[in-house]
């Protein structure tokens, strides 16, 4: 459930995936590409070797026609296996998840393992994986050994989640991924949060408010 208090509705959106798949890069590019009414600094808690130790946090938001502040807090989880406890804690209370996979062929098992921990950890922290707003992004499509889009689509054809192909380093597909997550999030929470009925936010308005620049 989004966190609501005194004129503010806050969505926690988590970028999940194996180490080094480009989660932090997604946040960095979003910070550059989005132009919502409000956007904060990226807060990074990382070690010296540039691997995310705890998490990254990008806050952004806009005001609904009702005056309600719609706030998004984008988190990344640490990818390293050793940080499973941290990953779970960051995943706790998530309202939506982007799974960032690494398209390099050599990373296929890492992706699969990480996806399994996502499903497992969701149930551990009390999230309903079946109904969780989830978008899957295959990042690093620019790599020469990237698994081609068609092959991935074939393999994931039975999965219910939207697939995105990105090159976060070059800013490609990052916005679209985020937009899809916003749509899924709106659909999941619109009713319980009275987004359309009370705050004048339909799906398009919700997405446009968060992306900005419209």
């Amino acid at each position: 459930m989004p966190d609501s208090e005194a004129g503010r509705l806050s969505f926690k959106l988590v970028y999940y995936g194996p180490a080094q798949s480009g989660k932090t890069t997604n946040l960095l590019r979003l910070h550059d590409q989005l132009a919502p009414e409000m956007i904060g600094e990226i807060m990074t808690l990382e070690t010296q070797d540039d691997r995310t130790l705890f998490f990254d946090l990008l806050p952004l938001g806009f005001r609904a026609p009702s005056g309600l502040l719609i706030k998004f807090r984008l988190f990344t989880v640490p990818g390293q296996v050793a940080h499973d406890g941290t990953r779970k804690a960051v995943l706790s209370r998530a309202d939506g998840v982007v799974f960032v996979a690494d398209s390099a062929r050599t990373q296929e098992t890492n992706n699969a393992e990480s996806f399994q921990t996502l499903a497992a950890n969701c149930s551990r922290v009390g999230l309903d994986f079946e109904h969780l707003p989830l978008v899957v992004q295959f990042n690093k499509q620019d790599l020469p050994d990237a698994v081609p889009e068609q092959e991935i689509r074939d393999r994931w054809s039975a999965a219910p989640w939207p697939l995105h192909f990105a090159s976060a380093l070059h800013g490609v597909g990052v916005r679209e991924t985020f937009a899809d997550l916003l749509r899924a999030t709106w659909r999941c929470h619109a009713e319980s949060c009275e987004l359309a009925s009370k705050h004048g936010l339909d799906e398009a308005g919700f997405v446009a408010g968060a992306l900005g620049g419209g």
Binding site: D3, E5, R8, S10, K12, M38, I39, G40, E41, M43, L45, F54, F55, L57, P59, L60, G61, L69, K71, R73, F75, H83, D84, G85, T86, K88, A89, V90, S92, R93, R124
Partner: protein, 401 residues
């Protein structure tokens, strides 16, 4: 629910009184005027706020979480002071988030460990249960095996009792047969004496005519044979008695030489012609044993030995020897009879194996002998060569003092 690391932090959580005290004194000196820090609700956290003061928002993420108010402070200095304070708050929030995330993660890790531990405990319990089941099953199997073994032993004993009965019947029948025929002949002889009584007047002629000289000597012989036959039957019955001891089997402290002598006494008169039984017994320590069972073993081994010599169709010796050292009592029963082929030898310990027909008095097989010896923690060895003879060696451990 406990608030997570990812909650919205309040300004008074980030800037406690001590931090504010140290920071604001320095900031005030830098700003060169009066400063106050206000919370989200407008209340003063540090200094005294006045309506007339200029204000700068303090933003953590998106919205102001408080304000810095100043009086008599240049606008750019106030902005600079607010930026510094904001910077301090961000450092604080990073620290706070990181440390409470760490606590959550540790709690989560602990939770995982606890789950792992539970799983381990469960699997250990399962394993224990399994091994208990296994033990029960092994015990049942062992019991079954023991029961089968016992049944086999009983069956073999029955068979050997049958053999013995058949043998006894045969051996008793034989003397009984000539006892009866001798007696009926003797009865006929008596009628001849009755005839003599009628012809006493004829005198010596009647004696001669009735051929009573022959009747007299032959009658004596017939009766001698009858007495011998009776003795033989008595001996056979005596042997049967030694078997009757087998079943009330209680362990006794016993000298195995006694068993050997007893068996030798029983067998002696029954050995085939041309077989000599020789005992070479050295003193033995006492042994806790079932004497009835061992009697039977020795008796049968001696009988087998005698039979092996008879089968060789030549005179021979059954040599029974005993000796002991500190560890073992050794008993050997040796014959110089037919011996066994390697094939016979390899089968010798199989239950029911015998080379002899029923009724030949073979008694229990070597398999039962071995069972009985094993039951005494001993062992049995067989050494045999065709035409040279057989030695059966029995070893019993000497009880430790």
């Amino acid at each position: 629910m406990e608030a997570g690391f990812d909650r919205e932090w309040r300004i008074d959580e980030l800037l406690d009184a001590a931090t504010l005290g140290r920071t604001m004194d320095a900031l005030t000196a830098l700003a060169g005027g009066e400063l106050a820090v206000l919370g989200a609700d407008g209340g003063a956290l540090w200094g005294r706020a006045g309506e007339d003061m200029a204000r700068r928002p303090l933003v953590l993420e998106l919205e102001p979480v408080g304000q810095l108010a100043g009086r008599g402070v240049a606008a750019e200095r106030l902005a600079g002071a607010a930026a510094l304070l904001q910077q301090l708050m961000r450092v604080q929030v990073r620290y706070k988030m990181a440390s409470s995330l760490h606590l959550e993660a540790v709690a989560e890790d602990y939770e995982s460990l606890r789950r792992e531990h539970l799983k381990l405990q469960e699997s250990e319990a399962r394993y224990k249960q399994l091994s208990a089941q296994l033990e029960v099953r092994v015990k049942a199997q062992v019991a079954l095996l023991e029961e089968r073994q016992q049944m086999l032993y009983e069956a073999e004993k029955l068979a050997s009792v049958g053999q013995l009965a058949a043998g006894v019947a045969h051996e008793v029948n034989n003397p009984l047969g000539f006892l009866r025929s001798n007696l009926s002949t003797f009865r006929h002889y008596l009628t001849q004496f009755a005839e003599l009584k009628k012809r006493l007047a004829e005198g010596d002629a009647a004696w001669q005519a009735l051929d009573l000289d022959f009747v007299l000597t032959d009658g004596e012989e017939l009766l001698d044979e009858c007495i011998k036959g009776g003795d033989r039957i008595a001996r056979i019955i005596g042997e049967l008695k030694s078997f009757s001891h087998v079943d009330h089997s209680t362990e006794e402290y016993y000298d195995l030489n006694e068993c050997l002598r007893h068996a030798a006494n029983v067998i002696d008169g029954q050995l085939p012609a041309g077989v000599e039984l020789r005992l070479e017994l050295l003193p033995l320590p006492g042994l806790v044993c079932l004497p009835g069972h061992l009697n039977q073993v020795f008796l049968n081994l001696m009988r087998n030995a005698g039979q092996a010599i008879a089968d060789a169709r030549r005179p021979g010796v059954v040599r029974v020897s005993s000796e002991a050292d500190d560890d073992w009592i050794t008993i050997r029963i040796h014959d110089d009879g037919v011996g066994m082929t390697p094939e016979q030898r390899s089968k010798a310990f199989e239950p029911f194996y015998t080379t002899r027909p029923v009724g030949s008095g073979a008694g229990l097989g070597l398999s039962s002998a071995r069972n009985i010896v094993l039951a005494h923690s001993g062992r049995i060895e067989l050494d045999s060569r065709p035409d040279a003879g057989t030695t059966v060696s029995l070893f019993f451990p000497v009880p430790r003092k």
